[in-house]
């Protein structure tokens, strides 16, 4: 084939299967079909189901807004919403500043063996949440390691998994172990995108390293901090496996349902009590809440670019 042939070919009729749009369709077909069925259709069907009363597969009738009306007066739902929100706020309060400082420290010359530290802090991210839950149900048990460690300082044993007000803190302890590493990676990426000459200029102007951290590193990491916050929000509101494993018995959700979360409630409603319609309404409510909060957050920070950094 010679180069000169091409313009001629282009002018002549392109074979059907070589036309750009046709090629595009061929390549896109598997993804789009799967996506259309298992995402788009499924979302629509979830909404439809939320308006139905379902007593087992195949026995359903329209219920109008009954499910949503019931949701508004459902104490367990509010408890789940409150717990989920508390957990999310708690994890964000710890898992933004701590990994940020760690990322900055690990980038500085003040630490030897950065790679080893990063590797160790990252490994929990790879661990299955089921296993993490199993390990922490030992660590946090009344006769567990955390209590025997606190005992060294004269703290009496706490019922981490048995006491109402310790359920969310227990979940946050677990989350800090599991997610610190990945947030360090995000923040490291963010910090390495800040040009060195900004620091040099600041130094020449007489800004101390602490001031540089405060006035350069933090404001210039706004994008990545927002990104990680949105991710944490998403993750927080979808909390499920951890409470399922930590409180496996009976109705689930821990002491006085203090560990009941939105998704756990959805799961129990759907697959323990088989109220598929009501569970769908919980799912729709969850989706709406997540969307509203993340839209508000993005708007608040003046973000509306689709392909913003990583």
């Amino acid at each position: 084939m010679s180069v000169t042939q091409v313009p001629q070919q282009a002018r002549s009729r392109t074979p059907f299967f070589q036309r750009p749009t046709v090629v595009a369709v061929v390549f896109l077909l598997p993804f789009v079909v799967l996506f259309a069925i298992f995402r788009v259709w499924a979302v629509g069907y979830a909404v439809v189901l939320s308006f139905k009363d379902i007593q087992g597969i195949g026995m359903s009738e329209w219920a109008g807004l009954d499910n949503y009306r019931a949701l508004l007066t459902d104490d367990t739902f509010y408890r789940a919403l409150r717990n989920t929100a508390l957990y999310t706020i708690g994890t964000i309060a710890v898992l933004i500043p701590v990994p940020f400082v760690l990322a900055a420290v690990l980038r500085s010359r003040l630490v030897r063996g950065q790679t080893a530290f990063r590797t160790i802090l990252f490994t929990p991210v790879l661990t299955s949440l089921v296993v993490v839950g199993v390990i922490f149900s030992l660590l946090l048990s009344t006769n567990g390691l955390l209590n025997s460690f606190l005992g060294l300082f004269g703290v009496p044993p706490q019922g981490w998994l048995e006491t109402r007000h310790l359920a969310i803190p227990s979940l946050i302890i677990l989350a800090v172990w599991r997610w610190t590493g990945i947030n360090i990676i995000y923040f490291t990426t963010g910090l390495s995108n800040i040009p060195d000459d900004l620091y040099e200029a600041a130094a020449v102007d007489g800004a101390s390293p602490l001031r540089q951290f405060w006035h350069l590193s933090i404001p210039l990491s706004k994008t990545i901090i927002l990104f990680v916050t949105v991710l944490s929000l998403f993750g927080g509101f979808q909390l499920f496996i951890e409470p399922l494993i930590l409180w496996p018995s009976g109705t689930g959700g821990g002491p006085g349902q203090a560990g009941m979360t939105m998704v756990l409630y959805l799961y129990r409603t759907a697959f323990t009590s088989f109220q598929l319609g009501y569970a769908s309404a919980i799912g729709v409510a969850l989706a709406l809440i997540i969307m509203l909060i993340s839209l508000a957050q993005l708007r608040l920070f003046g973000f509306f670019r689709k392909d913003s950094d990583d």
Binding site: A24, L28, I37, A46, V105, R109, L110, L121, T188, R211
Partner: protein, 312 residues
């Protein structure tokens, strides 16, 4: 304040040294102390490094606990959950695991599910990414943005409709039922498209000028060039599938069809949990991942750093 000049010189060499101040500000500023090789810098380095050693040691405790608990005599695992050093060490729990639980089936299922969904997702995602990055066609951007926008929805909203669908399709308790609904992976598509956008146009043009069809361009030119991205996706998809609990928990109904995560979870619901089985099965679930990670650290961190959001 004049002492700060010295500090700044240190900061100049190590911009983010600033952060260390957070960790330990000792408050005394001696002139010239900020130089990286000064005594003061060395002292700071020792303090900060020691602090990091302490933090990472704490982070290692749960892993130590996993292993040490699997090695304690079965009846001591929960009873001695507060004893840092075990009173005795045994491998008997592993024998129990192989005798009392279908661990071989669970492990095999995890491998099959991870391999199937990884391979399937890679094919589907890579194919779709090519036109979205490299071919002009109507509604291209609308389609892409639409796909990404659905990521705003939690996966859990889909649980019930997908469950009903799997029942209708008789895919409950099958590998396909676990794999199929999660194949079209929007984050994977996003990542692969970004990568393909970065390929040099001249190479693609050269192949087209040589008369290669779009299909040939994809298979002979694009695929070899996106190999690093494929590796990232392979790690990401495999890890996600290996660690997934929720969807296989809903689809798989027979004990012999459980993957490891569901198998472990099923032991917890029992009236008296078998801690020997729980801990040893957990070791088996974690060990391959950690070993692989230690061998391919960069690829893992790179891949997960880019899109390890756990997004389905």
């Amino acid at each position: 304040m004049s002492d700060q000049v010295a500090q700044d010189r240190a900061a100049l060499r190590s911009p983010t040294a600033a952060a260390s101040q957070e960790a330990h500000e000792d408050g005394r500023d001696a002139p010239a102390s900020g130089m990286p090789h000064s005594r003061r810098f060395a002292r700071r380095r020792i303090i900060v490094t020691a602090l990091m050693v302490l933090i990472t040691a704490v982070f290692l405790v749960p892993f130590y606990w996993l292993i040490i608990s699997a090695l304690r005599p079965a009846d001591r695992i929960f009873a001695d959950a507060g004893d840092f050093f075990p009173s005795a060490v045994t491998l008997a729990n592993f024998a129990n695991l192989f005798r009392d639980a279908p661990i071989v089936a669970w492990f095999t299922n995890s491998v099959i599910l991870a391999a199937g969904s990884t391979l399937g997702s890679m094919i589907v995602v890579t194919m779709a990414a090519y036109p979205l990055a490299r071919i002009r066609f109507p509604f291209r951007n609308a389609l892409f943005v639409g796909i990404l926008a659905t990521q705003m929805l939690p996966f859990h909203l889909l649980l019930i409709p997908l469950f009903v669908l799997m029942v209708d399709l008789s895919l409950i308790d099958t590998y396909l039922g676990v794999i199929l609904p999660l194949l079209a992976h929007p984050f994977g598509l996003f990542y692969m498209r970004q990568y393909m956008l970065g390929l040099p146009q001249e190479i693609l043009d050269a192949a087209r000028v040589d008369g290669a069809s779009e299909y040939a361009v994809f298979f002979r030119v694009v695929l070899p060039m996106v190999r690093p991205a494929l590796a990232t996706l392979a790690i990401l998809f495999a890890l996600e599938s290996w660690n997934d609990l929720l969807w296989p928990l809903i689809v798989m109904r027979t004990e012999d069809n459980y993957p490891l995560t569901v198998g472990i979870q099923s032991q917890l619901g029992l009236y008296r949990p078998r801690w020997d089985i729980l801990m040893t099965a957990s070791v088996i679930a974690v060990l391959p991942v950690v070993l692989l990670f230690l061998r391919m650290r960069r690829a893992f961190i790179g891949g997960l750093g880019q899109l390890g959001t756990g997004g389905k």
